[in-house]
């Protein structure tokens, strides 16, 4: 069996958790939801830090916990890596000591893994004490430490939440690089959609201790029934490639499955792959190709489905472009009726903003 199977049921005063997850054996699965929805508890249960009354935790052929067979491995016998919200480095050990603490117990000896350190940009910090590191450096060391114990599963509990926006921007590229290199599954908890857009392969939406929706990130984000669809955050994630720069106007041309979109200039070289986020509120619809519009990104698309109650002020429209990319558009119900929008109609989508997630 491959992949990760996790089922936890837990009752606490004022909170109940009941989740069943099946996650791919590679890539990043993001648990996303409002604070208090139980996503951190799921992570703690997976690690064995919190014991759920009923639970199953299986990774590949290894079973860490199964309440039916009464199997239970304590945390220190589960080959996992855990990155906490605060870096939580051992203050009495240098960076090297922190890494060696992990690698020795993971059967990797004392030598820090060069490649890993270069990947996370901490090779120059080895002899420093944690107190002498910045918040971002600490968190990078914490990630390297978690990976030094050669885990079979990496659990990350809002690793960026304690950092300010600038530190986040500093770390995200490292995470993204890791994401592309890691061969183990990662379970990543966050309440920031930017991180979802940048890192997620698989997305699990949680609310009040339950899983509301789960699946490949593109599908879940573009779904009209997801809890996200009802919020201001409704958006899609698109995979893109930098295909050109217009330095005179400070713009970058991005290729999304054969369609050209323009965004504010990004620093990446041509050919670099990145992800875009397009908010539903930034996509408006027109029956005919608009002429003389200030909006650059205009493309034809077919309406796939229209969501929203019949008494809501606004509704959400899902579109598919000729090349297969999906978009969401938020329009008022009045516009829906005035334009007589219906599934199957061909329409022009005007995209006001394309946000590269960097």
């Amino acid at each position: 069996m491959s992949g990760v199977e996790a089922r936890f049921r837990l009752e606490r005063p004022g909170f109940s958790l009941d989740v069943a997850l099946e996650l791919p054996d590679k890539g990043v699965s993001v648990l996303f939801g409002p604070s208090g929805c139980g996503k951190t508890t799921v992570l703690r249960c997976a690690a064995g830090l919190t014991r759920s009354e009923h639970g199953l935790m299986r990774i590949g052929d290894d079973c860490w916990q199964d309440s039916e067979t009464r199997r239970w491995l304590p945390t220190h016998r589960r080959p996992l890596g855990y990155v906490f919200q605060e870096a939580s480095l051992f203050p009495h050990l240098s960076v090297r000591g922190n890494l060696a603490f992990a690698s020795r117990r993971g059967g990797q000896g004392d030598r820090p893994d060069r490649k890993l350190m270069e990947l996370l940009g901490i090779d120059r910090l080895l002899d420093r004490m944690p107190a002498a590191l910045s918040g971002g450096e600490r968190q990078r060391v914490a990630i390297a430490r978690a990976l030094s114990a050669s885990p079979q599963l990496l659990l990350m509990d809002e690793p960026l939440a304690a950092l300010d926006a600038e530190r986040k921007r500093e770390i995200l590229p490292y995470l993204e690089r890791l994401h592309r290199r890691l061969s183990i599954p990662v379970l990543y908890v966050t309440h920031a959609l930017d991180e979802v857009a940048q890192l997620a392969d698989h997305l699990v939406l949680m609310d009040q201790g339950r899983v509301r929706m789960a699946g490949p990130v593109g599908e879940v984000m573009a779904s009209l029934d997801s809890p996200l669809a009802a919020t201001d955050q409704a958006s899609v994630v698109l995979d893109a490639r930098v295909s050109g720069h217009d330095s005179a106007y400070g713009l970058t041309r991005l290729d999304v499955e054969g369609i050209d979109l323009w965004s504010a200039r990004v620093g990446h070289e041509i050919g670099r792959r990145l992800r875009l986020r397009v908010h539903a509120r930034d996509v408006s619809l027109a029956l005919f190709r608009p002429e003389g519009s200030s909006i650059t990104n205009i493309l034809p698309a077919v309406i796939e489905a229209i969501g929203g109650d019949d008494d809501a002020t606004q509704c959400l429209v899902r579109l598919r472009t000729g090349s297969g990319a999906q978009l969401l558009s938020r329009v008022t119900r009045r516009s829906r009726d005035l334009l007589a929008l219906e599934p199957g109609m061909v329409i022009y989508a005007q995209i006001k903003a394309v946000v590269p997630v960097v």
């Binding site: 690690a47 220190h76 203050p91 009495h92 992990a102 944690p130 107190a131």
Partner: protein
């Protein structure tokens, strides 16, 4: 005028006291470290009870503790009967008896600083260690103890110094046998009783200087240790 050099009797008292304090400290750590760890982590009611019991010597007059120990360990006491039946003999007025009494008497001085510093080690640190494959004993040895260094030092100095200075308990349980149970504080008392003030000064003064130096050294070491952790606490 008596001469200003220490008599054999004084040297005996000093050696005995040092030996007593060292042996007691060793036993205090063997008992106190696990006890303090348990007290720092337990949520059970038993914890409060044990905590209170350990602290009793702090508020009890030493003679009271000594008196009950004498009764317990004596030929009529339950512990005394046990030790006799085990062939150890009676403990009062022997060196082992002194060690037992000193251990009980100094226990709070070791357990309380240890407990405070163990309690200051965050649950998170233990969890981190567990996620890095460290078992409970491994974690205690390589994470908890190093992080509790100031507490360990305080406990050692307080436990040692407090044993050096005790009087009432020792007098009750050990009596005043030169070379066997006569410790420094009792030797000083004897000198004073005999109006040998110069000798008393010499002994008392050395004890004062020793205690002061020990505490001063502790301050310095703790400052050296804690300047780094103080900054670390910021967010490491």
């Amino acid at each position: 005028m008596p001469d200003l050099f220490l008599a054999t009797e004084d040297w005996q008292a000093i050696a005995l006291t040092a030996r007593l304090a060292a042996v007691t400290l060793l036993i205090l750590f063997v008992i106190g470290v696990p006890l303090a760890w348990w007290l720092a982590r337990t949520h059970s009611r038993l914890g409060s009870l044990v905590s209170a019991l350990v602290a009793v010597p702090l508020v009890l007059p030493p003679t009271v503790l000594g008196f009950y120990l004498l009764v317990l360990l004596g030929p009529q006491g339950p512990v005394g009967r046990l030790t006799e039946s085990l062939g150890i003999g009676l403990l009062p007025f022997t060196f082992p008896g002194l060690v037992v009494a000193s251990t009980l008497f100094s226990l709070p001085f070791v357990v309380q600083p240890l407990q405070a510093s163990f309690a200051a080690v965050s649950e998170r640190m233990l969890e981190v260690a567990a996620t890095l494959r460290a078992g409970p004993f491994d974690t205690f040895w390589h994470v908890v103890l190093p992080l509790s260094r100031p507490g360990l030092l305080s406990a050692a100095v307080l436990g040692f110094a407090h044993t050096l200075g005790e009087f009432g308990v020792v007098l009750m349980i050990g009596g005043n046998i030169p070379g066997r149970t006569q410790v420094l504080s009792i030797a000083i008392y004897n000198r004073v009783e005999a109006f040998e003030y110069a000798h008393a000064h010499l002994l008392a003064g050395s004890l004062l200087v020793f205690s002061f130096i020990a505490l001063l050294a502790l301050q310095f070491i703790n400052r050296a240790v804690s300047t780094t952790p103080a900054m670390l606490r910021g967010g490491a």
